[in-house]
């Protein structure tokens, strides 16, 4: 350890401790399933004091406290649903990045798929309408069609070269 380091370390510590809460102790699980659930949960819970960060990403004091609470609940054997219910009761739906499916989110969850169906139906109607209108296929057998396609391709290729 260099002398400079020894001398300046307290100063740097002071600055950092003053700015953010120093509580950042890594959490340890005895149980891999608990750990995975913890990780998945804190990624879906919103830090309420940050602009737009999950608990997993945030360094704010509140986020650290909440992480601790989630940790305690998981270790205490609570299920994900119970933890979410607890958090939503305390902070409202705002705390969850995955909006619950209920009356005011119905449009949010089903809207995209309704829109998709609607858009595809319209697209098919439009295509059918135009492909059946005043256009008749010349009477050709498959060989002739193939030959025509080849000729056309060749011709198009040439046209581009000359351009």
């Amino acid at each position: 350890m260099s002398a400079l380091f020894r001398l300046t370390l307290p100063f740097v510590f002071f600055l950092i401790v003053n700015n953010v809460c120093a509580y950042d102790e890594p959490v340890k699980f005895n149980n891999i399933e608990h750990e995975e659930r913890y990780q998945a949960l804190i990624e879906e819970i919103r830090c309420l004091v940050c602009q737009n960060q999950s608990l997993a990403d945030s360094n704010a004091d509140l986020a650290q406290d909440l992480r601790k609470e989630v940790y305690d609940m998981i270790v205490a054997g609570k299920q994900d649903e119970q933890i979410i219910t607890f958090l939503v009761e305390r902070y409202g739906d705002f705390v969850m990045y995955r909006p619950p499916l209920k009356e005011n989110t119905w449009l949010l969850w089903f809207g995209p798929f309704l829109l998709l169906s609607l858009a595809l139906i319209i697209a098919i109607i439009v295509i059918r309408k135009q492909s059946s209108s005043d256009y008749t296929e010349p009477d050709m057998d498959d060989n002739q069609k193939q030959r025509l396609a080849e000729l056309l391709n060749e011709e198009l290729g040439k046209g581009k070269d000359k351009e």
């Binding site: 950092i16 809207g111 492909s131």
Partner: protein
Amino acid sequence: MIPELGHFALIMALVMAITQSIFPLIGAANGNQAWMALAKPVARLQFLFVSIALAILSYSFLTNDFSVAYVAHNSNSLLPAIYRFSAVWGSHEGSLLLWVFILSLWTIAVTFFSRGLPNYFLARVIAVMGLVSVGFLLFMLFTSNPFDRLFPTPADGGDLNPLLQDFGLIIHPPMLYMGYVGFSVAFAFAIAALLGGKLDVSWAKWSRPWTTLAWMFLTLGIALGSWWAYYELGWGGWWFWDPVENASFMPWLIGTALIHSLAATEKRDVFKNWTILLAICAFALSLLGTFLVRSGVLTSVHAFATDPERGVFILILLSFFVGGSLLLYAIRAPSTKSGGQFKLFSRETFLLFNSVLLLVVMSTVLLGTLYPLIVDALGKGKLSVGAPYFNAVFIPLMTPVAVLIGIGAIVRWKQDDASRVWQQLRLLLFASIFIGVTAGFMFYEVHLFRTIAGIIAASWVTLTSLAAFKARLTNKKNKLAALQIIPRSFYGMTLAHIGFAFCIIGITITSQHSVDLHERMAIGDSVEFAGYKFVLDKMHVVSGENYQATEAVVNVFKNKRQITTLRSQKRIYAVRNMPMTEAGIDSGLMRDLYISLGEPLDDKAWSFRLYHKPFVRWIWLGAIFMSIGGMLAATDRRYRLKVLKHKTTLSDKLATST
């Protein structure tokens, strides 16, 4: 005195912009050649004045002129010179100036590279771009003047947000704006075509290279933003579905639909109205993006400027441009004659499906972004819509896009035989499934379903693109000559589609197989993680120009051999007294090792976060391929030659005569 000159230059730019929009429009309407001819020189003058304004603002930053409020709020005498320069667009007023500057840059590019365009058409294009400029200059002069003075003059400035004191800020915003604002060219072409009432193939041909270029810049801009967030924010994320990211992603989705729809319009004289609508939509979304980011309606990690008064102004601008162009569209579109015919089973159909899908994806992103605002505004509660929602709806909607890319590459224009296509695709489909399943089971143990699905999708896109490419070489005697005959745009398309496949691989594997570890480490401690051994070698203090940092030096070993040294810093920026984490990253094609220094736990140990992120580079690599592809397509021979001579080509004749 000098900042006042900048202010004056902006006013002059406004005068030019007004002239540029009014006279050519009227001239084009009643055939007055002199008035139309005004468009080019006035647009160039506008560019000159906007450049002067930008130069003066940069000068004020470089000379630390804190009597200018914008400089005082966003710079500091301690700020390194390079960031003083990029701080010009570090906040609201300056980024608007950058917006207008880039708009005028695109405008003069149009004046120089448009010799093939008819006078009346060019006049209208430049006039529409002038009109957009008028809107933004008014906005700047009335609500966000970057040259406003501050009295009394502070002794020093408030400094640039440390997050922005990075190489990323120098290039990300200009690139993104080149994309955003570039769609104003496509928009101007569309409006000019609508005003002229003549929607023909030539309009699509003129507008195509510009649109592709804008799309290329936007692709690069978004990728740069993602990369920047990844290394700068310190928790290894590369996409957050943050409203600000969505704001740039929505025009990209529509821009992608637009460049494909334009291809069909140009080649086959189809979807003319649809393409016009997409062009309007792409630009509307660029404006909406500006509105979302700049108005303060959102609270997000990126929004640095918030002010509701400005929001109302942008909303008025947005309504004017979107409302006005949709009204024009509603009047003119019904009279468009339908062009080329095609059967249900044809490339046209697949292109249309894909652009419809992209529109639906965009609407979903829009819905998710605005939903919390709408619900809140209606008093129906507060909720958050975040990554879990977007991933849940985005992935199922994007999967068919990948499937359709493959089919679209093989199917012929106009009509095709389903059994022929199936015969050609069958083998590729089986090969993709084989690759996906084999690679999945060989390399991975968890999240197998998603991993395999992702690899199949990427293989499918790659193999079908290569097959379409190979089809161009079959029945050719001299393969080398055949390679030279293939148009550059086709190379571009193939490369871009393969780039998309790279993105799929990167996104899938990084999302499913990244691992991280939160660990306490003291000097000398070592941690085994993801097959590597991390040893905390030392902690020391580093001084930067305007910050003090504690740096952790971590040696990384694999199989007892040291492979790299990672350095992660906790910086304290002097002026704002704000902590920042600088991640230590060892990047590689197959994986990134990423460490970020946390907080001190006691007098000896610190907390660390270690991340192993496989294939994360492929996401940006894919975006780079897409951009190069766009570049190749935009500089295709026929667009370059069109400048010298414009004659109807055989493909045009064919397309219009059918």
